[in-house]
Symmetry: C2
Subunit: 206 residues, 2 copies
């Protein structure tokens, strides 16, 4: 069955996430699954193919999550008040969900770590890292905040700076959660940051 194929992919990802692609040997992957490396080549035609299938899986997963969590169009037609609270709640829950994925979900966490280790020698990976984890989210939030300022939901200010203020703690807390010691209160800190951010930047209603 193709269950072995899946186990190989996940085991390889776990090792790639810790040591990097080059430092992980085919023998190590096979050995961790209790088989010889010859058997592994029945399921993948090369070590590189495992890596490519992992990336392919993440791209697919990312598209699904983007389609699922995209801002629903119907909220635009609602009243400004409902739109405000709905959008802010959406942003908060979406952000926390994303954080959980990159820090607690096995595939998300391992893939993010692997990307971290491969970013400087693989241009495709570098692009992905910027698009999904660094510059991309900032630009996305910038556009969203600019729109919300125009609608009078957020106080007027520099939308790019505001996006940086909102997203940067998300990014730093991910890195801090990689240290085994202080990985527990990261979610609480992020939640407090988001609520603090909303309270400080929302137009006070009458």
């Amino acid at each position: 069955m193709s269950d072995t194929r899946e186990k190989i992919l996940l085991t390889a990802l776990r090792l790639f996430a810790c040591d990097g692609y080059e430092a992980v040997s085919v023998s190590a992957i096979a050995g961790m699954l209790g088989m010889t490396k010859g058997a592994l080549y029945r399921h993948y035609k090369s070590k590189r193919e495992i890596f490519d299938r992992i990336v392919e899986r993440m791209v697919q997963l990312d598209n699904e999550r983007a389609r699922k969590h995209d801002v629903p169009e119907e909220t635009f037609d609602q009243s400004p008040l409902a739109y405000r609270s709905a959008t802010l709640d959406n942003i908060k829950s979406f952000t926390l969900s994303q954080f959980r994925f990159w820090t607690e979900d096995d595939f998300g966490r391992d893939f993010r770590k692997m990307v971290t280790l491969e970013q400087y020698r693989n241009p495709e990976i570098a692009d992905w890292q910027q698009k999904v984890l660094a510059d991309g989210p900032v630009s996305y939030m910038e556009d969203l905040f600019r729109e919300m300022m125009a609608q009078g939901v957020l106080k007027s200010s520099n939308p790019r700076l505001l996006a940086l203020d909102f997203y940067a703690p998300f990014y730093l807390l991910i890195s801090m959660s990689d240290a085994p010691s202080n990985g527990e209160n990261a979610m609480d800190l992020l939640t407090a940051h988001i609520e603090n951010f909303i309270e400080r930047n929302t137009v006070t209603r009458k």
Copy 2:
């Protein structure tokens, strides 16, 4: 002369910063310097020793910079007003100087990248990364902000959350500066962030 020894160290660091320690071969280091790997062993007794000397150098450099940029004690005796502006100016210039070091200085930038690539398999490196680049600066700023709140320089709020708000953009902009495309305006964005932060959180003087 020991000039060759220095060239080996810097060349190895450059390669480690791109590909990671394991993925860089001794032949590659020697080849980049136009010599054979046998000659390299006249200057270092092993590949690992080069790595250790690099870390040793950074520890020493870091101690020097810490000693140099530490908050001068005399400012504590000055008037609250002078203390405030002096401290805030110090924080701003210190932060910008640090940012330049990690993004523009060859040794600082390469070492930071190498640390990024080795953090998940080297506990010593992981500790360093947290202490110098992630959790450490946040805790440091937290203590500083708590003190400044007690002295009435900053508005009262959660000092840890405030430290996160201040430092996280610094951390994210470093990552963004690694992408070759958008590495130019990072300093400007960081400057704007700091000025914005100071303006928003300083107690308005009469």
